[in-house]
Symmetry: C2
DNA sequence: TAGCACCCTGAAAGCGCTTACTGAAAGCGC
DNA sequence: GCGCTTTCAGTAAGCGCTTTCAGGGTGCTA
């Protein structure tokens, strides 16, 4: 496990350590020596030790990212934006998937802190648990004090850091209007874990708009489940078992809508013949479903890109920066006018 | 950007650096001092500097992973397996998405080498380009010599490292048999970039099995495109434009099959009424397509998990380890018997 | 030719941590 | 009670690199 060190290179090139370092880092060095160092480095297959560099004070080209689940198409898309920016800037991404475990999320932030990553990204809805919030804030505070930058995507309001926020509430409201415009008056909702802020926003925006139009969303019309395909399946099935009395179902995420399609199909119901279905996010696959899903399209890649932009640039102002990205309702064939 | 250091903790606890270090690392220390150190560390919100630790010789808990595109459901699923094992072992994952750029892949391996990651995973088909192969081998050799571990998933044979190999050839052959069993005799194939080894294996296995059954795959029956949804769309459209003369289309990856569905739909053709379609991989979404896609199911999560297992354990033998994971043909409604 | 400014190179001081190694104190048998 | 082992805290030596600082050429001006 012995590595070629800068000292080896310097010796091979018959120069001092300092010169070797300078040559490799593109500082001014006599061309002659410069070439000799580079040749020696290449010959010895020298790879600088990133730890030593970091310790000696060189700035690190890395970024830490914590998300719920890389497997989920939503996060995969956002992560895609992150990776794109990272690749364009030669950054190393330290990615952690917490599998939606709040404890693990904090543990990972701690690890990233230990790595002295200059920036940390938190991707995905926060947890509305005061204890968790306090713990996370405590973890982040010294990091921020130490000059670390933090950016969050679609994250709880109470974390006072730079944020990228999809306009969940407005998007859901707009979707509600569009659905009302199709003549729907009886709705059902597939909701996610109530402690997630995203749920509160989307459900809230949707419900408020209905209320404004004089349409009520009965307590039995909302089913909760995990933000997964199977969660959507279960929630839809539950609604069906309760005796669904709705012409339109709103799934808080597209992934849940996919499960809902399956549940409806298994019951022999057709979309949108028997019931219209709408989702949220516009993950890549939903346009290829049959029927293509009506949804609120979020610029998923941009969520990741903008977060990286926040994380990579110093916040010079005194206030936290917030990038709001609007969603756009995309009407597809999964929603039909009420007969 | 000044951080709390171990020295600060030691001073606060009124012990020596060594004692502080030992206490924090769980070495034997008088309980009294032990508690004092831990209390001081907590009070100061101390986070050890991972670089300093690594430099001083502590083993690193990290793994480097390079894949083509985290956005792709196939890689997302494999990465999911990787992240799961990482989470269970408290490992930090340094993930790079190369966006299918061979140069970038080598550049990332170099970065990972600089990070002194104890293990590197290469996920996704290799490039059959001798120059690239040589460059990659040159990059890997000193890393392996230095005690680094490398594991690859679904990767070129010529890279002499521990590998996890989905049985592409056998899987494609089995699929071909199943399709022949349905009575199909005229086939078309949506193929990927020919320099990818995965393509060679899947196409080769499929074609050989047809040949063995006395069925030929004409040159015009194969369309090449990128391993993406849009690639599948384009390849399918191209086949259609050529005047598709097949009862069954084999898409080398499920993602391409998704695009093929769309292309067929746009031409008003039905699956499997007008043409049967089969894919490969069994990415999560294909069972929710209409009709659900016949495919060769690979244990995607396990690909990632097994690779991690290889990467985390020392190869004690002298030969490289190979874990072969078989695919299983899953017949769904996208393929029908020939009338 | 002497003097001055400049540009490069090399020597050396850390960055924050782990870990021999050293040494003191305590426990044991005889 | 003396010399032995054992236990555990402290001292200090690096890990590999960047960077400051000092010194020695070089080219210029006077």
């Amino acid at each position: 496990m012995s590595h070629v060190t800068l000292e080896d290179v310097a010796r091979a090139a018959d120069v001092s350590l300092a010169t070797a370092s300078r040559a490799l880092n593109g500082r001014r060095v006599t061309p002659h020596l410069h070439d000799r160092v580079l040749a020696a480095a290449a010959r010895l297959a020298y790879t600088p030790n990133a730890h030593a560099r970091a310790l000696a004070g060189a700035s690190r080209r890395s970024v830490g990212v914590v998300c719920h689940d890389v497997t989920d198409p939503y996060f995969a898309a956002v992560a895609g934006g992150v990776m794109r920016v990272a690749a364009d800037n030669d950054l190393l991404v330290m990615l952690a998937s917490t599998f939606r475990d709040p404890e693990r999320e904090i543990a990972y932030v701690s690890m990233l802190r230990a790595e002295r990553a200059p920036a940390i990204l938190l991707i995905g809805s926060g947890f509305e648990d005061p204890r968790w919030e306090r713990a996370m804030a405590a973890e982040l505070a010294p990091y921020l004090d130490g000059g670390g930058r933090v950016a969050v995507v679609s994250r709880h309001r109470t974390l006072k850091v730079d944020s990228v926020l999809p306009e969940n509430r407005a998007g859901a409201a707009e979707l509600a209007r569009a659905l009302l415009g199709l003549g729907h008056r009886r709705f059902a909702v597939l909701s996610g874990p109530p402690e997630l802020t995203t749920v509160a926003d989307r459900l809230g925006g949707f419900r408020d708009e209905l209320t404004a139009a004089g349409v009520a969303l009965g307590p039995g019309a909302v089913a909760e489940a995990a933000f997964t395909r199977d969660g959507g399946y279960r929630a839809m099935t539950e609604l069906l078992d309760r005796g669904l009395d709705a012409t339109c179902v709103f799934a808080c995420t597209d992934v849940m809508a996919v499960g809902a399609y399956a549940a409806l199909r298994d019951r022999g119901l057709s979309v949108p013949g028997d019931v219209s279905v709408a989702g949220f996010d516009d993950i890549p696959v939903v346009r290829d479903l049959t029927p293509p899903l009506t949804t609120v399209a979020l610029p998923l890649h941009r969520l990741g890109e903008e977060a990286m932009n926040l994380a990579l640039t110093e916040n010079t102002g005194r206030r936290r920066r917030i990038v709001r990205l609007p969603g756009e309702v995309v009407m597809r064939a999964s929603t039909a006018p009420v007969a």
